[in-house]
């Protein structure tokens, strides 16, 4: 059991960039291309870490602190994350779901501060959009987690994941499906994926996340990219933990199910990015409000089902 405690943390640290490779591969195969190597994200990170960083003379310490503190916050969030019922998080306590949500919030806050610190008009625009969208994604995330907490009676992520089983799907299946959907909306918005943002676009006017990190270079950029990959892993794992909870059995079943689920999430993102166009910016808040509505609905349904 002790060895399993660190499995979610270590696997997240090692495998997170791999998922980005899977997304790229899926998109490439949809477009009929061979695509980048699956390990391209690792190569990029290694390359960036070997380079030096360039800092604009107009920036202050905020700009330099942004990537470092951001990565630290993501790592803290990753420590709270369990991988299925049998692999508890490396660190868990009552109420750690708030710490997870606000560690992710801290990352965003620092990225925004660093972007504003550069004084670039484009980065300010991206920061404004990022803040607007995440302000709507945050209630959806918290209410979804609250619905899970209400269903399982646990207030920590590990307790919640351990409390979800086939019986809870039988009792509150629709509510759990809605939670997974709402988390899916949050996942797409927070990771700047299509249909909210296009990670491949390089036109400043349409970018949201990418535009904020234009001025970062070298190791700083590597930290940000790695942090983004970890964020992808964390939010994906939240969905997978709900999605695989109906699978019973020992750790030998639930762990492979977890990793297969993560792979499925990456493939799903690749398919969504291949078949959909991104929304007009005006339509994005509507999608996020639907996510909030789904989570509120799930929360009220859980109250009904458990009453």
């Amino acid at each position: 059991m002790n060895a399993l405690r660190f499995l979610p943390l270590v696997s997240g640290l090692v495998l997170a960039p791999f998922l980005l490779g899977v997304v790229n591969r899926v998109k490439a195969s949809f477009a009929g291309r061979t695509g980048q190597p699956l390990l391209q994200a690792y190569f990029d990170l290694a390359k960036l870490l070997r380079k030096g960083a360039v800092y604009s003379r107009t920036t202050t310490w905020v700009f330099r602190a942004g990537p470092v503190v951001g990565l630290a916050a993501v790592l803290t969030a990753l420590m709270l994350l369990p991988a299925g019922r049998h692999a508890p998080a490396a660190w868990s306590f009552t109420g750690d779901l708030f710490l997870l949500a606000y560690c992710l919030g801290l990352v965003r806050f620092l990225t925004v501060l660093a972007a504003l610190d550069t004084g670039s008009a484009f980065e300010g625009m991206g920061a404004s959009r990022e803040v607007q969208f995440s302000a709507l994604a945050e209630p959806a995330l918290l209410v979804s987690l609250a619905a899970l907490a209400r269903l399982t009676g646990g207030l920590g992520l590990t307790d919640i994941t351990a409390g979800l089983d086939a019986a809870s799907w039988e009792a509150a299946g629709p509510a759990l499906a809605l939670v997974a959907l709402a988390l899916g909306v949050v996942f797409l918005a927070e990771n700047s994926r299509i249909p909210v943002d296009d990670p491949n676009t390089h036109l400043e006017l349409t970018m949201i996340h990418e535009v904020m990190i234009l001025d970062h270079s070298g190791p700083d950029l590597a930290f940000i990219l790695y942090g983004a990959a970890l964020k992808f892993w964390i939010l994906g794992a939240l969905i997978v933990n709900v999605g695989i909870s109906w699978i019973g059995g020992p750790a030998a079943v639930s762990l492979p199910a977890f990793f297969a689920g993560m792979l499925l999430v990456a493939v799903g993102v690749g398919v969504v990015e291949s078949v959909m166009a991104r929304f007009r910016l005006l339509k994005v808040p509507r999608m996020l409000w639907v996510g909030v509505a789904l989570s509120v609905l799930a929360f009220t349904l859980v109250g009904r089902f458990t009453a």
């Binding site: 039988e170 299946g173 629709p174 809605l178 808040p285 509507r286 409000w289 639907v290 909030v292 509505a293 789904l294 509120v296 609905l297 009220t300 349904l301 009904r304 089902f305 009453a307």
Partner: protein, 213 residues
């Protein structure tokens, strides 16, 4: 309180939210049809093991009417009136979704205040209130006459679900009477929209106060 019934009721709520969120008439009509089919499946799912031929036939009739006939009538009305296919809302779609969330909370609150309902933990009554509120909201918050017909249909869906909450077994003649009423209403409204459109070259209910002469 079974899983199929709950799933159908959640589907009814979801279609309600999506209708609030859409601006396209065709999407709204399709969602309205999906909700109608879900409503038609509801009595069959609620009867469970003791499904009688009567219930199945009633369900089939509702599906045929709300899932096939009404959408067809509404689509024809759109085609003949040559509108842009946009809803022209007074309240924008994002704000409408927020209203939907408030309506959902209000529906559960109303349900908690009512003590005469037989099964207090059932989802049926809150879903009914939610659907009724959504229908009323669509009627007042959208400009085009055709969206008011859609709002009316959704309102009627809510009333039907509410009937299910009070009594599972309603005499079939009453059900058929209500459905016939609705059919005539939608038929007449379809014709009315067509006439409004021919007389005024639009079906914007906001401008109907102006006399033509």
């Amino acid at each position: 309180m079974t899983l199929p019934v709950d799933t159908i009721l959640v589907l009814v709520i979801l279609t309600g939210f999506l209708i609030l969120g859409t601006v396209r008439l065709h999407t709204a009509i399709r969602l309205c049809a999906i909700q109608g089919v879900a409503i038609g499946l509801l009595p069959v799912a609620a009867a469970g093991e003791g499904t009688s031929l009567r219930v199945v036939l009633l369900g089939l009739f509702i599906i045929a009417l709300k899932g096939v006939a009404f959408p067809r009538l509404l689509r024809r009305a759109i085609r003949e009136s040559a509108t842009s296919g946009e809803m022209q809302p007074y309240v924008g779609s994002t704000a409408s979704i927020v209203v939907g969330i408030l309506a959902l909370i209000a529906a559960f609150w109303i349900d908690s205040r009512l003590s005469f309902l037989p099964d207090t933990h059932s989802l049926v009554a809150p879903v009914a209130f939610f659907t009724i509120i959504v229908g009323l909201f669509l009627i007042v918050a959208r400009k085009l006459a055709i969206t008011q017909v859609i709002g009316y249909l959704i309102l009627e869906n809510g009333i039907y679900v509410f009937g299910l909450a009070i009594a599972l077994e309603v005499p079939v003649i009453v059900e058929l009477g209500v459905l016939l009423d609705m059919f005539v209403a939608v038929f007449v409204m379809g014709i009315a929209i067509f006439r409004i459109n021919r007389e005024f070259n639009h079906m914007d209910s906001d401008q109907l106060r102006n006399l033509k002469g």
